[in-house]
């Protein structure tokens, strides 16, 4: 299978989809790799290194595209200014493309590729499940963007990050506020902390508090409690009351902090405006705002995409090419994400010829999430995704419903995350949706056996009562009522026990067993209740012996549990 890596031709793009290192791995996976001459120049990766790694250098881009079975790219396909043609038109019919796509707003592109029967896989749509972390290019890129945001801030900032006391006077440490603690936000926290700044972070999702703290940062909170977890590592939009409280917090912070880094994105929507003009005005002159959401409209009201502007004495950085500013590392990580993905697809052989439906039939989550076009047929968005999917945005109805290849017009109100650039912003490496799903699964698995057991037991009890009523000649209603009373207590207690015990950590299984053992010594009550009678009578003797045995159990069980538990320590 012929794999091609072209040069990225977008003006501010310096990354590339393969490095000499990844080429070596791709060759090992069985691909016949061709790269465009000069493709790695922006990332300081010379052509010679590519050929040494086993790639064929192709000087003629037109031939490179025409020969490719599989094209690896960073950015979505676009017009090549040097050739005057769209990349999609250069490909042969039925080729496969893997790149960032941002399909929610790329209707024109998808239309064009669908007509040519292209299979398109979108790196930005890979579900954020544990298994897919190694191919999660969004996280790789967000990590870099977060780091670079701090570097840009430091570049614009007129002082040290670390506080210093020198012979010439005292310098206070820089105070950095990061809004949105996803991957990019956490990376920014780490970088700023490493440079000695005082760091704090704000996020609407309570779950990230510990992650923020683990980076050595302070987690700012508002008094209104509301969890902004929206699934897929994104936050959702919050209530007006919460936003008011949030704004008050930001206004207070604006007077204090020197550097603000905003990373808040909501999938399929314009970036929320969080840092308003009056907050910029309240900041000390010389302060810096770095807006990682510039591409989706910006979190700061005064952001100008792709520029660093000074407003009210505050520098506002709206660069959208932060990852490209670390082109070598960004290329290396992205290329490695691609290698992992292709490995997951089964390498060249499995992807070849007829097998090239990417195991879509095999119900693979990664493929189902990332595949946008299959031989020109639109298969995106997949049914039922855990993340709040872009189709929840107003006016963007599900393209799948309208059939392959035709799209409703993109609403101007929802430019979404699409656009020209592969810079993703905040994301938290997934955990929440996957674990939430797991919890749901196990809780249903927990319930059903118990429910069935209880239903079965009830049936048996009913049959036994029915039998007894028919054969013993007693008044059955009284016995039935009595029995059912106890039976009710029994069934309820089973449910309580079932619920209580499920959460026991495995380390405590032995103590749990010995304590339940002690508790089951409650049978001694049965013995006690039989001790009324002449001392020699059989029931009394049996009862006393039972009490004796059960007490051994009670004392032994509780005391040995206590002994064990004393040993557990952190």
């Amino acid at each position: 299978m012929r794999l091609a890596v072209p040069k990225e031709s977008h003006p501010r793009e310096r990354r590339v989809a393969a490095t000499p290192d990844s080429v070596r791995k791709l060759v090992a996976l069985g691909f016949d790799v061709a790269v465009e001459a000069g493709c790695g120049a922006g990332a300081c990766l010379p052509d010679a290194a590519y050929s040494a790694a086993g790639a064929r250098l192709e000087a003629d881009p037109v031939r490179l595209y025409a020969d490719a079975d599989l094209l690896l790219k960073v950015r979505p396909l676009h017009d090549r200014p040097d050739l005057g043609r769209h990349e999609g038109d250069l490909l042969r019919t039925g080729a496969t493309v893997v790149s960032f796509v941002w399909p929610a707003g790329a209707h024109a592109l998808l239309d064009r590729l669908a007509q040519r029967g292209i299979t398109l896989f979108s790196m930005d749509q890979i579900p954020r499940i544990t298994r897919a972390q190694k191919m999660d290019a969004l996280s790789s890129m967000a990590n870099i963007a977060g780091y670079r945001a701090v570097i840009e801030a430091a570049h614009q900032f007129g002082s040290f990050f670390t506080g210093q006391i020198t012979a010439a006077g005292k310098i206070a440490p820089a105070k950095v506020l990061v809004i949105g603690a996803g991957v990019a936000g956490l990376a920014a926290l780490g970088a700023a902390k490493g440079m000695g700044a005082v760091v704090r972070a704000f996020d609407t999702r309570a779950a990230v508090r510990d992650q923020v703290k683990s980076m050595g940062a302070e987690f700012l909170e508002v008094t209104v409690t509301e969890d902004g977890e929206g699934g897929g590592g994104y936050a959702r939009e919050m209530s007006p009351a919460f936003i008011a409280a949030e704004m008050a917090l930001f206004r207070a912070q604006a007077r204090e902090v020197d550097i603000v880094i905003t990373t808040a994105l909501i999938p399929g929507r314009p970036a929320p405006k969080l840092w308003l003009a009056d907050m910029v005005e309240a900041m000390k002159p010389g302060s810096v705002v770095v807006d990682l959401a510039a591409e989706a409209g910006g979190n700061c009201e005064l952001t100008v995409p792709d520029e660093a502007v000074v407003r009210h004495g505050v520098t506002i950085v709206g660069f959208t090419d932060l990852t490209s500013r670390l082109a070598t590392t960004a290329s290396q990580l992205y290329a490695q994400n691609l290698v992992h993905l292709l490995t997951d697809f089964g390498g060249a052989q499995a992807m070849d010829a007829d097998a090239r439906d990417f195991r879509l039939n095999g119900d693979d989550d990664v493929v189902r999430g990332g595949l946008v076009l299959r031989r020109g047929e639109l298969v995106w968005p997949p049914a039922a995704r855990p993340a709040p999917s872009p189709e929840s945005a107003p006016a963007s109805t599900s393209p799948a419903a309208t059939g392959a290849g035709s799209f409703p017009a993109a609403s101007p109100a929802a430019p979404a995350l699409t656009s020209k650039l592969g810079v993703p912003t905040i994301q938290v490496v997934d955990e929440v949706p996957a674990s939430a799903r797991l919890a749901r699964d196990t809780s249903s698995a927990r319930q059903s056996p118990l429910t069935w057991a209880m239903v079965g037991l009830t049936v048996v009890a009913w049959l036994a009562l029915h039998y007894a009523a028919g054969h013993t000649g007693e008044d059955p209603s009284k016995a039935t009522a009595l029995f059912l009373e106890r039976f009710t207590v029994f069934v309820l207690a089973c449910f309580v026990g079932w619920q209580v015990v499920w959460n026991v950590t495995p380390a405590l299984h032995t103590p749990l067993m010995s304590v339940t053992n002690a508790i089951s010594g409650i049978i001694l009550l049965g013995g006690i209740l039989h001790t009324n009678g002449p001392p020699g009578a059989a029931p009394v003797v049996l009862g006393v012996v039972a009490v004796w045995l059960a007490t051994i159990n009670v004392a032994g069980g509780f005391l040995v549990t206590r002994r064990m538990l004393r040993m557990f320590r952190k």
Partner: protein, 475 residues
């Protein structure tokens, strides 16, 4: 004491027992949970003692005193490695007590408002479950102690035998329920005594047979199953005596044991039924692959010194303890090894398979005894993906839980059981007493793996030498 007051005491005790189980779910709250249990039990006993139906105080107090003393002594003196045996024998006490209470109820046949037939039916149920619990626990105790062979006893047609015994018990229970002659007509035993006695014996035989047929490797499940049974026994006694506290408490314990069994079974990829009805441990002697396969290569031995050098050179070490560590009581030596490695900047953690040892959570208790901090002790799912980046994995006296055949060999009896993927580490060292196969009697391809080295030694002895070698100044 008034009836109402008594009921109130039952409610309080019941709530305390529930809180007790709840507390046991986390190490930080576990001690408080145990305290709740004790208080609940005190309240229950005190309330029962003051109830109107109690007589013969002297005998009662003597019995409680003697029982407590014996129990306390057992709790003090038992070695942590012998915990499974203790738990098993304690289960048998519950079973036996339930049988005795059942007979006492039968002989008294009073104080039971309502239906005579219902009482007899409940007695039958109580004695049946109690008897199975009793003999089953005694057999489990013998197996765990080693007085009985760990090999499963597989009688021909054992399922039919079990079914027959169960049917007989049911039939005898029906006979008992229908024996409605007035109590003690001839001044001696009430009617149906023969049936009750026969049922007790048959149920006892059934309990013994069920546990005899279970292989040693399944012991963790058996112990938790018996735990569950002892709960159901108490519950049955509650029905019999019309006592809600017994019903509630028994149901709590019963479902707790059932959940534990379920968790254990899932960890071994086995169905609960296959464990309950036994016959796994001696799995079809390689019937799938015909003759025992010749080992795919030779094992490579290592020495204590070589291992010590490798450990010192590493940065990530994972220790996988198994029953062998418990038998050799090596946990303290292992702890010293962890300390020695920590001093040298090597991070050492523990990987615990859910069914390691002979009791759920067995390894955790032993490591806790040796004062290993519990945050170093990880579960299988937490650590399995870390093995590829681990420098040295030290497998101490474990076998089946690290057997790669569970993932690769469809003919293996443990195929499909989740295992610790220790073979993915850069170096795996197996400390083992001899070249024998594991408890399940299955050959382990791990031993022939290219990265694996074997250290044939007693776990404790080997660990102590290893600690000395690690601490010795590098040559």
């Amino acid at each position: 004491m008034s009836e109402a007051f008594l009921s109130l005491a039952w409610v309080v005790a019941g709530v305390l027992f529930i809180s007790s189980l709840r507390g046991l779910s986390h190490p930080e709250t576990a001690r408080r949970g145990n305290g709740y249990g004790m208080v609940g039990m005190l309240i229950a006993v005190a309330a029962a003692m003051t109830a109107g139906e109690v007589g013969n105080f002297g005998m009662l107090v003597a019995a409680i005193g003697a029982g407590s003393a014996i129990g306390a002594q057992l709790a003090r003196s038992v070695a942590m490695t012998a915990m499974p045996e203790l738990v098993a024998i304690l289960h048998s006490f519950v079973g036996l007590a339930a049988v005795l209470v059942g007979f006492a109820s039968y002989l008294a046949q009073d104080a039971h408002e309502g239906s005579h037939a219902l009482l007899l039916g409940e007695i039958a149920l109580d004695v049946l479950v109690g008897s199975i619990t009793f003999t089953g626990s005694v057999i489990a105790f013998g197996k765990l102690r080693g007085s009985l062979s760990g090999r499963p006893l597989l009688l021909p047609g054992r399922h039919a035998l079990n079914a027959l015994a169960a049917l007989l018990c049911l039939g005898l229970a029906v006979v008992l329920v229908r024996a409605t002659e007035p109590v003690g007509m001839a001044g001696d035993l009430p009617g149906g005594f023969g049936a009750l006695l026969a049922m007790t014996l048959i149920a006892g035989a059934l309990g013994a047979h069920l546990v005899l047929a279970i292989g040693g490797a399944d012991m963790p499940v058996v112990v938790s199953m018996l735990n569950s049974y002892s709960g159901w026994t108490a519950s049955a006694a509650g029905f019999m005596l019309g006592n809600d506290l017994l019903i509630i408490t028994g149901a709590l314990v019963g479902s707790s044991g059932a959940i534990l069994s379920h968790i254990m079974c899932r960890a071994m990829n086995r169905s609960l039924a296959s464990v309950i009805f036994g016959g796994f441990g001696a799995a079809p002697p390689k019937s799938a692959s015909g003759t025992p396969q010749p080992p795919p290569g030779d094992v490579v031995e290592t020495t204590v010194e070589e291992l010590a050098a490798e450990l010192r050179a590493g940065t990530e070490v994972v220790i996988v303890p198994g029953y062998g560590m418990a038998v050799a009581r090596a946990q303290h030596a292992v702890r010293q090894l962890v300390d020695a490695l920590k001093e040298r900047g090597v991070r050492t953690r523990f990987a615990i398979h859910p069914v390691a040892g002979r009791l759920p959570g067995h390894m955790n208790v032993l490591l806790a005894e040796a004062a290993v901090p519990y945050d170093l002790v990880l579960e299988m799912d937490e650590i399995n993906h870390d093995f590829p980046t681990t420098d040295v994995v030290l497998v101490i006296g474990a076998n089946d839980i690290v057997n790669p055949a569970a993932q690769t060999d469809t003919a293996s009896p443990i195929y499909g059981m989740p295992v610790l993927e220790v073979w993915k580490a850069r170096r795996t060292v197996v400390v083992k007493r001899s070249r024998g196969a594991g408890y399940a009697g299955i050959d382990n391809p791990l031993f022939y793996h290219g990265n694996t080295r074997m250290l044939f030694a007693d776990a404790k002895d080997g660990m102590e030498k290893l600690v000395a070698a690690v601490q010795a100044p590098a040559a």
